[in-house]
Each structure stands twice: as structure tokens, then as C-alpha cells.
């Protein structure tokens, strides 16, 4: 977070930032369901915070054992833990043979401390990770309060039972939180939106109908399509992007050529050393140089720099290869791999520099063509600013939504790569109480913090209005007008299935112009359209519901996006916009139709005044394609000259029934 908030336009030094106008989220309570919190971290100091909001009804449970006790303050106003569902499944006592854990809200894992400090941590200056990424860490809403619900336990990397998650959501609704942040997911295939095995969709439905925005991660199963999780339309689902910061490290070869890789290496420069690539004899000379299968003897690599190529699971490969090279006396490692954004220190500051296959191949050709190849490895530097483009992260899960493809997911994208934030001192990667982590776990609390700022500015906005404001104002281009890319194989221009509306633009969302609002009735419309039965829907919403005999269309859910997964000839969809700006306003449409698709609006102009605050319009979408196509993308923007209210549009033509994801 030493850079991510500046990247998003929420610099504390900018007077026009909503950080100032929202009083840094003062008065808003963010509930975080995660691995707990390390309350003594400086990021949770409560200096300058006023009294705890009077509506707060939560509690601070200190825990059973003296070493795990937690004390709250005016920043962490609530802390609870829910383990019974987990223990009933796994047996007691908690098996923490691999990792320490506390039966209290105290965070042994570090993940919950990272996410909660990202959402609402206080300003702490002069923080870095081993000298890299230095600056001031803070949360998105530094004056918001935190309510900690520990539901994930430090077993096998962090596990959480749906019974515990549901209990935490039930209590959080009672306690009076305004925003909920859940960096938790499950696995594909998904359970339905009304299936409690999901644990999140059902509980969050009840939270959202009470005005609580629920922010969840999209998951880390990208870049494959249809991997996005937490897809219910009432959830705000967050993808992950890089920011305008990199950590280049130079590799200088004996032929005087220099290549730049990326690393988290802050040790001394490794002067010119012999450079080796473990080449096998026989039919497959490359087999010995595969990172994940690296097996090198001290006689081959002692005192040398090793090059290897990672073909699969790069992160595991790098750790393993670094350990092997180090054990054999090697002094450095160059890893050639597919671009994956995420960087991790190779332990004890061992120099392992990551390059792409192109650079790796150049280095290999140099080794193969030189009698005594040499390389010099520099330590990493922190490069920040406009010349570094943000991209959708390689790992970030992608749409379309596998439950309801007409509901665009993810909704929005936020920084989630190499994010420096507070952690537990027990985190083995920690440096002085801080660590760099990557994942949609990290992008989720960024959005939760921004939602807290919006809640402080607009306390009456519904969760759907907040989502709409975020989606329709998001960035699809960088400051210089350059489009945003999505990392994958190969890298490509990002589309709504990569980033939803785009990269979150907090200052834009504070003044969106128009919003696509929704309430319980709209969610019932969705549930009817999904063929859930009347009695289940009635119980869910707490009153008798009879779905209309003519099934509603998913395409008419009042979302700030338009996604048509199966267009044959022509279809007409309806949207209703609510004026969230000055009462007198005239909006005109700008259409960027997907390739081969025509979009006709009625009306083409929206006129708002003191009596007309909501206007419905229709869009008739027609395809000229005569074959089944993939998705084509476009946008629909309503503009009054000041605000641009942009909906992402995704359309797939299907003249024949789809038999697979074509």
C-alpha cells in the first residue's frame, strides 16, 4: 500500500481526493472475515480517532489463552472468533503441528492483518520490504473502524468452514458493520447462490438487503475463463491488477549485454561469476535445465549462477530450484518463465531473478555459444510511475460467470500484486512486521476501503448504487489514454471478463452522475429468473413471493453492465437509471457497439429534473453474425458533458445451441 493508494488517486496530499472529503472514512465500520488480527501492529493505532460509533453493538473477545489475548481500541472496535464449525469437522484440538495458531482473534497466519490493514490501517511512514517499495503504508479508509471476525484458521495455509463464515456474517449484521470484506473463496464448480455450502452468497444476501456492502475476491484461478468465484449479483466481486511499480534487477552478461528481470533481491551485487545451464546428454538436452526438476551437483554449480526454465507451476519451481542451487553452493539463479506478475523473495535474500522466455533464451544462446559464460547480478530497484503500465494480474480469475453468464463477473479490479502491508510477526516472510503478498485477497480490501469512503460521503446509497458507481466510473485506460492489458498467455487487451468495469477509480465513483440501483425486489427478479422455487425465494426474503408466470429475463436485471451470452437475432433489454447528481441534467448516449452488433437506444436522451429522478430505457441489440461467435465487447456511455456513466457490453452470437465454450 506504499504505492497502491497513490496509483488509485487517493494520495493523502491531494486536496481534491475523496480521502479528504470523506474524512478518511470516519464513522464507517468495516467488518473483515479472515484469519484475525495482530492488534499491536502500529497500523492499528487509534490516535486521532474519535469515540466508537454509538450504533456499534459488537464485542471484543480476548480469547482463551493468555498468549493469544487481544485488546481492542478505537481502531479495532470488535474482535471475535468462530472455530466450532471447523473443529467439529476436523476434530479437537486444532492441529497446528505445522503452524502456530491462537484460539482467539489473534492472527498467527498474517493474512487477516494484511487485509484489514489494507482496508482501514492508519498511516505508518518509512516502511519497506527489505529496502524495496519504501513509503507510507496505510488503509484505504484510515479513519474507518475495524471489526475483526476470525473464521479462517492457520491449518494447511488457511482454511475456513462455511458454518463459521455464516455465523460471523450473522453476528456482523447484528453488530452494525457497514462494509464486509471477505478474501475467501472455494473452488470450481460453484454451488448455487442459495446453497449454504457456499456460505458466503446466502449470508451476504441478508447483509446486502440490510444495506451492508459485501466485497469478495474473484479468486486466483486465472487466466483461464469461467474461473471467477463469489458470483452472486448482490456481491461486489473484485479482480486483481498490478500497479505502476516494478522491481527490476539487472543481469549483465560477459558479452556486455544487460537484461532486466524482476526480483525481490536486496542483497549485495553478485559480481561476474561463471554462468551455467544444466544441460543433459542424450535425446532431450533441455531436460536437466527444468526448474522444477533441477538436480545439480556442487561440482557443477558451486560459486556459479544457474539458469533454469520453469515450464509449470512457476512459484513452486522457483522455490525448489533456489533451494537446490543454494544447497549445491550456487550463488544465484536466473529463472526463465511465463510472465506471472507475482514476486516472492527466495528466502534469506538469495538472488533469484525472473525473466521471460525470450530473455531466458537469449541468455541460453549466450551460454551455448561462449567458452566461459559469465553473469553479474544486481540487486532489485523500485521503479514507480507513469512508465509502468498496470495490467490485470495473471492469476486473477476471469469471467464469464459459470452460474449465470448474463451477470458480469468480476465487477471491478483493484491492486493485488506485490502489496506491502502489515502482517503477523509469525509470518515467516515478514520483514519488521510487514510483508508483500499477492492475490485477489489483497485487491478485495482495497475496494472495501474505497466503499468505506463512499459510505462516509453517501450514507444513504444502497450496495447496488455503490457497485454501480464503481463499475461505471472505472478506468479502462491509463492516464495517458493507453488501454489496460491483461496478463495471460499471451498478454492481450483487457476485456470485461478480465476486469469487470475496469480498474477502480475512487474519486470518479464519488460523483458518478447516474446509478443503476437495485433492492430486494431486483434480487427476487434474479432468483426467479434463475428458476429457484417460490418457497425458497419466499423464505430467503422473508415474505411470500410468487414468481411471475412468464419467467423474468436475466438480461433485465438492473446491473451497470450488459452481458448477452446467447444472441440469436434481436433482443431488447431494459435498464433504469437514477440521477445521483444535480437535479436538472440531460444525458446523451454514446455507443461503442461490439463487432457485428447493433445497439439501438430508446430514448436516446435522458432528461432529469426535480420530479424525474429515475428513467428507464431500452436497448435493442441485434447481431449480423450468421455463425456462433465468441464474445465481442463494447460499451454504452451516458454523458451530460461532466459525467461519463459507462456500462461494459459483452455479446456472444449463438445461431446454434452452444455445445461447449465456443
Amino acid at each position: 500500500t506504499t504505492r497502491s493508494w497513490d496509483f488509485l488517486g487517493l494520495s493523502s496530499s491531494s486536496p481534491s481526493s475523496i480521502l479528504v472529503s470523506s474524512k478518511m472514512g470516519d464513522g464507517v465500520i468495516i467488518g473483515v472475515l479472515d484469519t484475525g488480527v495482530w492488534p499491536e501492529s502500529e497500523v492499528f493505532k487509534d490516535e486521532g480517532l474519535g469515540p466508537i460509533p454509538s450504533r456499534w453493538k459488537g464485542v471484543c473477545e480476548s480469547g482463551k489463552h493468555s498468549n493469544g489475548k487481544v485488546r481492542c481500541n478505537r481502531k479495532i472496535i470488535g474482535a471475535r472468533w468462530f472455530v466450532d464449525g471447523f473443529l467439529a469437522e476436523y476434530g479437537q484440538p486444532l492441529n497446528t503441528s505445522d503452524n502456530q495458531e491462537y484460539l482467539s482473534p489473534r492472527d498467527a497466519n498474517g493474512h487477516g492483518t494484511h487485509t484489514s490493514s489494507t482496508a482501514a490501517g492508519a498511516f505508518v511512514g518509512n516502511v519497506s520490504y527489505k529496502g524495496l517499495a519504501s513509503g507510507t503504508v496505510r488503509g484505504g479508509a484510515p479513519h474507518a473502524r475495524l471489526a475483526i471476525y476470525k473464521v479462517c484458521w492457520n491449518v494447511l495455509g488457511g482454511q475456513c468452514a462455511s458454518a463459521d463464515i455464516l455465523k460471523a456474517l450473522d453476528e456482523a449484521i447484528h453488530d452494525g458493520v457497514d462494509v464486509l470484506s471477505l478474501s475467501i473463496g472455494s473452488s470450481i464448480p460453484l454451488f448455487s447462490d442459495v446453497d449454504e455450502r457456499d456460505g458466503i452468497a446466502t449470508g451476504s444476501f441478508h447483509a446486502v438487503t440490510r444495506g451492508i456492502t459485501v466485497v469478495c475476491g474473484a479468486a486466483n484461478d486465472g487466466p483461464s475463463a469461467q474461473t471467477v468465484q463469489n458470483t452472486a449479483p448482490w456481491i461486489l466481486t473484485v479482480a486483481a491488477s498490478t500497479i505502476d511499480r516494478t522491481f527490476p534487477a539487472a543481469i549483465k552478461l560477459g558479452n556486455n549485454k544487460t537484461f532486466l528481470g524482476q526480483a525481490l533481491y536486496t542483497g549485495k551485487e553478485i559480481g561476474f561469476r561463471r554462468l551455467v545451464y544444466p544441460e543433459a546428454s542424450g535425446l532431450d538436452p533441455n531436460s536437466a535445465g527444468v526448474c522444477q526438476a533441477l538436480s545439480v551437483s556442487p561440482s557443477l554449480v558451486a560459486g556459479k549462477v544457474v539458469l533454469c526454465f520453469a515450464s509449470t507451476t512457476p512459484r513452486v519451481s522457483i522455490f525448489r530450484a533456489a533451494a537446490v542451487v543454494r544447497a549445491a553452493g550456487g550463488v544465484g539463479l536466473i529463472v526463465a518463465k511465463n510472465p506471472t506478475d507475482v514476486l516472492t523473495s527466495c528466502g534469506d535474500n538469495f538472488p533469484c531473478i525472473e525473466v521471460d522466455f525470450e530473455i531466458g533464451t537469449h541468455i541460453l544462446f549466450y551460454i551455448r555459444s561462449t567458452r566461459s559464460p559469465e553473469a553479474k547480478l544486481s540487486h532489485s530497484k523500485t521503479l514507480v510511475g507513469k512508465r509502468t503500465l498496470a495490467k490485470v494480474a495473471y492469476f486473477s480469475s476471469r469471467g464469464p460467470n459459470s452460474i449465470a453468464p448474463a451477470i458480469l463477473k468480476p465487477d471491478i479490479t483493484a491492486p493485488g500484486v506485490n502489496i506491502l502491508a502489515a502482517t503477523s510477526p509469525l509470518d515467516q516472510l515478514a520483514d519488521g512486521g510487514y510483508v508483500m503478498h499477492s492475490g485477489t485477497s489483497m485487491s478485495t480490501p482495497h475496494v472495501a476501503g474505497i466503499v468505506a469512503l463512499l459510505k462516509a460521503l453517501h450514507p444513504t446509497w444502497s450496495p447496488a448504487a455503490i457497485k454501480s458507481a464503481l463499475v461505471t466510473t472505472a478506468w479502462r485506460k491509463d492516464q495517458s489514454g493507453f488501454p489496460i492489458f491483461a496478463d495471460g498467455s499471451p498478454q492481450k487487451l483487457a476485456n470485461p471478463f478480465d476486469y469487470g468495469g475496469g480498474i477502480v477509480n475512487p474519486n470518479g465513483a464519488a460523483d458518478p452522475g447516474l446509478v443503476y440501483d437495485m433492492g430486494t425486489v431486483d434480487y427476487m427478479h434474479y432468483l426467479c429468473a434463475m428458476d429457484y422455487n417460490n418457497s425458497a425465494i419466499s423464505r430467503l426474503v422473508g415474505r411470500s413471493i410468487v414468481c411471475p408466470s412468464e419467467k423474468p429475463s436475466l438480461l433485465d436485471i438492473n446491473l451497470p453492465s450488459i452481458t448477452i451470452p446467447s444472441l440469436r437475432h434481436s433482443t431488447t433489454i431494459t435498464r433504469t437509471v437514477t440521477n445521483a447528481g444535480a437535479s436538472k441534467a440531460i444525458y446523451k448516449a454514446m455507443i461503442d457497439s461490439p463487432f457485428g452488433i447493433t445497439m439501438v437506444l430508446n430514448p436516446g436522451v435522458l432528461v432529469f429534473n426535480s420530479t424525474t429522478k429515475k428513467i428507464s430505457y431500452t436497448v435493442t441489440v441485434t447481431t449480423i453474425h450468421q455463425v456462433n461467435t465468441g464474445y465481442f465487447f463494447g460499451s454504452l456511455t451516458w454523458t451530460d458533458g461532466i459525467h461519463n456513466v459507462t456500462s461494459p457490453v459483452s455479446v456472444r452470437t449463438e445461431v446454434l445451441q452452444s455445445y461447449e465454450d465456443d
Binding site: A88, A161, A207, S538, R539
Partner: protein, 85 residues
């Protein structure tokens, strides 16, 4: 049949203004499929009583099936594990 596993019995929107009444209702409902209220109390893990209604309890498959057939029960579903992202 013999092995109990954590199940979530989901009843939808909370129909009780008083959380204590919701808890009593959950115990009574569970007691209808076990021998007594005392056993029901031992099996109960959580009552969901504020934002929505339901409970989590350790149930055998046949107990889960019988609960699922009671009026007012939307679903009875096994607990499952989520992971950090």
C-alpha cells in the same frame, strides 16, 4: 448412518424479533429429530439468529434428511471448507 457431520439447517429470513426466541425455536426443531432437548443442545454448534435464521449442528445423514422434510426448512446442507485467496 452412524457418523455425524456438521450440517447447516437454513430457515431463511429471521421470523423472530427476539434472538432468544429464535434459539429456542432452533433447539425445538432439532429436538424433533433426536430424542430430547438435551441431546439437541449437545448437537447444536451455532444458532443463526440475527441476520437470518438457521442453525449448524452435527447430524447423521438420516437426521439431516428428516430435518429437511420439516416445514419451514429451506435446505439442510453439509458444511464445507473455504480457502484464503
Amino acid at each position: 448412518e452412524g457418523k455425524s457431520k456438521v450440517h447447516i439447517v437454513y430457515l431463511g429470513e429471521n421470523q423472530h424479533n427476539d434472538p432468544a426466541l429464535a434459539v429456542d425455536y432452533h433447539h425445538e426443531m432439532l429436538a424433533t429429530v433426536v430424542e430430547s432437548k438435551e441431546i439437541a443442545s449437545d448437537m447444536m454448534i451455532y444458532s443463526y439468529k440475527h441476520g437470518f435464521s438457521g442453525f449448524a449442528a452435527k447430524l447423521t445423514e438420516s437426521q439431516a434428511q428428516r430435518l429437511a422434510e420439516l416445514p419451514g426448512v429451506i435446505r439442510v446442507i453439509p458444511n464445507r471448507i473455504h480457502r484464503l485467496q
